[in-house]
């Protein structure tokens, strides 16, 4: 199983690597959305600083939404998803390889870009660190819930708008926890409890969502 | 409580009556939708069974 996971992961990354700049699009999109806000709000330092964390989180959500509909779609179309579902033992390696490759390709580049974007919003170093910490804990949850949404809307028509409707309500707790963390840190208040909640949520999501994914994908291939 | 007080709801008429009106409106709408659903399904079944007889 581990061997299969390795092969699948390697191949997944290779496919995307060969497709060239595919992984770049959500990243540029993320950057663009973030840089729209100063025009919409104001370029005043205090306003930007206050809303920086929220803007960055929302932009990340949107860029994730851009790439999520493709998560299982191509495998459904070329029939390989059906083959994984027939070999039940290969479904778990497939799901984990898929999610991991997705994180490597789409999420980690965004996270790496975030400190630079935060600087554009005059965020102090301490806040940037906390923001990154919440992003690291929160983005796995976003990805897992998003993959759940992608699996649920696999058979649906017009799946991308539908996907937003399915997953955004579920993202609200993550948003609240993460953004309040940053706000509290800005006021020099303790944030340990909040980070612990976020981490616990992340662990529960990692433990349970792949199991649900397994059943939902099986429904999706019929 | 006299009739005038009842109409004006102690100054809250603009809020109380619309609230009740919306509720009754939605109830009526749901009722009509359910009836229409039933009628549509009965028509559909009849169509199917008619097809069979023709065949």
């Amino acid at each position: 199983m581990l061997k299969q996971f390795k092969i699948l992961l390697e191949h997944e990354l290779k496919i995307h690597y060969r497709h060239g700049a595919e992984w770049l699009t959500p990243l540029v999109f993320y950057w663009l959305v973030v840089s729209l806000f100063p025009f919409a709000l104001s370029s005043t330092q205090s306003i930007l600083r206050q809303s920086a964390a929220g803007i960055i989180w929302i932009a990340l959500l949107l860029s994730l939404l851009m790439s999520l509909p493709r998560l299982f779609q191509s495998d459904l179309k070329d029939g390989s998803l059906a083959q994984y579902c027939l070999r039940t033992s290969s479904l778990m390696p497939y799901i984990s390889a898929k999610l991991l490759s997705y994180a490597v390709l789409y999420i980690i580049p965004c996270l790496l870009l975030t400190p630079l974007l935060a600087l554009l919003f005059y965020l102090p170093a301490h806040s940037i660190f906390i923001l990154l910490l919440t992003l690291c804990l929160g983005s796995p949850i976003l990805l897992l819930i998003g993959s759940l949404g992608a699996a649920l809307t696999l058979k649906a028509r017009e799946s991308s708008a539908l996907l937003a409707l399915v997953i955004f309500p579920l993202y609200i707790p993550v948003l609240i926890l993460a953004l309040n963390c940053v706000n509290l840190a800005e006021q020099n208040l303790p944030i340990g409890a909040l980070l612990a909640y976020l981490a616990a949520y992340c662990c529960v999501a990692i433990a349970l969502i792949p199991l649900a994914l397994k059943s939902i994908l099986k429904i999706g291939v019929t | 409580m006299n009739l005038h007080e009842f109409y004006t709801m102690g100054g809250y008429a603009a809020y109380v009556w619309p609230a009740f009106a919306v509720v009754l409106g939605i109830f009526g709408g749901q009722w009509i939708l359910a009836k229409r659903h039933r009628r549509k399904i009965i028509l559909k079944i009849k169509e199917v069974s008619c097809d069979k007889i023709i065949k």
Partner: protein, 208 residues
């Protein structure tokens, strides 16, 4: 019931919104037999295969009894092929074979001999998207070379293959049937080069 292993398909039926495609299909196949599903387009050939594979909900049951009459679930013992080839267009031929080997298991033969048989030796490092339809199809059928699955479900396996590829596929079928395996095959064409008896199943008669 004989002591040889036997595959049973019971109570398969499929309906569309307005008509019945097929119903009450009950078949018992002794080991080493090939079931050839025939019928016009839209008669439910692919549907039946997908149902047997478990990719479509159905009320029927599929199981096989081995020589001791024990009932075994076939789920892990089937190979399913359809026009959705399940090969990765962004990978090379060689990588695709590795991918198929990890998926379908079985003891893997020497890679170059597999490529030789498929006639893809010179294209081992080409991307699969650059292959012709027939070559892609033989690549997708490659797991039959080394796999240990007992039941093969093949949906139009011959359709894009050239005569050479058709011959090696028929040889594989012959070998598999000689080893008392089962093949259920849907195809418009007549099956050539086959040394074993074919059991036909005609679909689409209900509608006439």
């Amino acid at each position: 019931m004989s002591a040889t292993p036997c595959l049973h398909l019971n109570h398969f039926e499929a309906h569309t919104e307005t008509q019945t495609l097929f119903n009450n299909i009950n078949i018992s196949l002794a080991g080493g037999s090939l079931l050839h599903i025939q019928g016009p387009n839209g008669s439910g050939k692919s549907t039946l295969l997908r149902m047997i594979a478990g990719l479509k909900p159905h009320q029927g049951t599929v199981f096989w009894q081995d020589s001791t009459q024990k009932t075994v679930n076939i789920e892990s013992e089937l190979f399913y092929f359809s026009h959705q080839l399940a090969i990765k267009l962004g990978l090379t031929v060689q990588e695709n074979i590795r991918h198929l080997q990890s998926l379908h298991g079985g003891h893997s033969e020497n890679l170059s001999s597999i490529l030789e048989i498929l006639g893809l030796h010179s294209k081992r490092n080409t991307l699969a998207e650059a292959l012709s339809q027939g070559q892609q199809q033989s690549l997708a059928l490659a797991p039959l070379l080394w796999g240990t699955q007992k039941l093969w479900l093949l949906d139009e396996p011959f359709v894009a293959l050239d005569s050479k590829a058709k011959r090696w596929l028929s040889q594989l079928l012959n070998r598999h049937l000689a080893q008392k395996g089962w093949v259920i095959l849907a195809s418009h064409e007549k099956i050539e080069y086959l040394e074993h008896p074919i059991e036909p199943l005609f679909l689409g008669a209900l509608d006439a």
